[in-house]
Subunit: 340 residues, 2 copies
């Protein structure tokens, strides 16, 4: 990680632009969790099933809404019992291209990530993995599907729940953004402002970190993670938006050099995922751009530069695939959630 | 209403079974709100859009989940800020066949109903219809769709929001339940227990009220409503489940004779909508059947009768149509909800 920080700092200082790439149609697939149609469908059911929360009110989709930007338009999310989270929900769209999950990279893979919120007392609030499994096991349709998908006798396990959800998430890819079409040769896909913004983010150094197919850093091994210190430079913004109150990756590693270090966020669909930053403290994309130029590159940029960069970032909203709604398997004649 | 009460009481006493009917594929459509493909799609977007709630956490689908039984598996629902409602969410499936909406019939039509929860402080919590309209108007994709659907210059109105949602809800019909297939001639569609249960509900008088295509009373004009006193007969259940604490329709009409009077609920998909009754106090369908026999017909029924009736009620779970997920129109570069 330290090597990467040094590397990206060098890029930033030299102004070398990292390559920009169109988004591939498929993300990396782990060998121990291959994609199948039935597993995707099962994962979609679980992703949308609020019965994975203690009181039946919260599903994965509640905070990572795939009908919109893959998040919840909120600074921080609301979990069971009206509890508020400490960080802003990151988008699930294209998260399969990230080499580490959560803002602080505390999960290596989508499989690892999926196991977190179900058991988090302020998110879905299930008291234990065993309880989550026993609830899913009580729903006959799920038992049949898990058996068909995983081919094991006792197929409903917490690992398999996570594997199915991760498999569904790997289908959540937004190809063919205006930027992608431009990169593939359609020179009319970007406005003059967006083209100007694209040059600006390279010239001033944003793409030292926001590179690669997901604009979240270079393609890396699962679990490796691409991190940066934020804020790097002191500014009035620290106080205004309380950026340093949360120590970020330090909470995971307890390594001093990880204080206020965060995973580099994707730019894809960023127009749709306000408010911004780990604490959701910045309401608009233009302000987020100003903040980043100052805190990461120590640059004051002009209003024109901000407008152009925002135009470019808007060109990164992709095509959202048409999906059928899952049908959640029934639990007959009684309720299975904590219903009051 | 009083005439209907007397009528159904007469049926109950004489044991005359009202006709049972398969569910039609289409419900009544109001002449001033015709169905169009574009209006259905717009209504689906609105139905799933949590931005219709003040803080972006609650959509119509949060409490009336069309991916499952059309409700939320809870005694009472959870609205914005963790607020709990006073009554159990009724299913949206086949609600287009009901001649009045809400447990107490305080809305005549689905259009009227849709306007309630958006403004209810413990449900979606928007401070006014004007604020809901102004939020939708700020989303460019909605403005285009409303104009295309309603053909008016200033098409985003609270009335039109309700019309679109109601139009979508009229597509939520579950035909071809085992019972429906049985009625259309497939004698293998019902088990012996279900057939026995079907006879029992006619013999003991349940179908005096639970008649018609939706088992919620005869087909009536919109707004007329088919109501019953619940409980009709005193029993130990009143105290156990606090049935009489809520005065029901009396709260709407202030008419003494409406105390503890409620809309007759549908039986369709009832296996999927536990817990039961207006306060969601009864956890299981077999107990709900015992309660109804005692409180409405003053009958103690045997365990065998309960099992058979439950088997019959399970035969009323229909086919849920495959739906595509709506794509919620984007609001770029900022958030539009109250985000903290």
């Amino acid at each position: 990680m330290k090597k990467l920080l040094a590397l990206s700092a060098a890029f930033a200082m030299s102004g070398i632009a990292n390559a920009m790439e169109p988004l591939p149609a498929s993300p990396p697939i782990p060998t121990d969790n291959p994609m199948t149609v039935a597993k995707i469908e099962l994962g979609k059911q679980l992703y949308f099933d609020p019965r994975l929360s203690i009181d039946g009110t919260i599903s994965c989709n509640s905070c990572h809404n795939v009908m919109s930007g893959g998040d919840d338009s909120r600074a921080v999310s609301v979990g069971v019992g009206g509890a508020k989270g400490g960080r802003s929900a990151p988008t699930v769209w294209n998260s399969a291209f990230l080499s580490t999950q959560f803002w602080d990279g505390r999960a290596a893979s989508l499989e690892d990530q999926a196991k977190g919120p179900i058991l988090n007392p302020i998110e879905m609030g299930m008291p234990s993995a065993a309880e989550a499994v026993s609830r899913i096991k009580a729903i006959p349709g799920y038992v049949l599907s898990f058996k068909a998908v995983f081919g094991e006798k006792d197929a409903v396990t917490y690992n398999n729940i996570a594997k199915a959800i991760a498999t569904y998430e790997r289908t959540l890819i937004t190809i063919n953004s205006p930027f992608d079409r431009y990169m593939r040769g359609d020179k009319s896909a970007l406005s003059a402002a967006a083209i100007s913004g694209m040059k600006t983010v390279q010239d001033i150094g944003c793409t030292a970190c926001h590179s690669g197919p997901n604009f979240s850093g270079p393609t890396m091994e699962v679990g490796q993670g691409f991190f940066q210190k934020f804020p790097t430079y002191d500014s009035e913004y620290d106080k205004k938006y309380q950026f340093t109150a949360d120590l970020g990756r330090y909470n995971v590693t307890k390594d001093e050099s990880d204080k206020n270090v965060w995973r580099v966020s994707t730019w894809r669909n960023i127009a749709l995922t306000a408010p911004y930053f780990h604490n959701g403290s910045v309401a608009t994309l233009d302000e987020a751009v100003r903040v980043m130029a100052k805190t990461q590159l120590n640059k004051e940029i002009t209003d024109q530069q901000v407008d152009d960069i925002v135009a470019f970032l808007n060109s990164l909203s992709g095509e959202f695939p048409v999906q059928t709604m899952p049908r959640l398997p029934g639990y007959n004649n009684a309720t299975i959630v904590k219903a009051d």
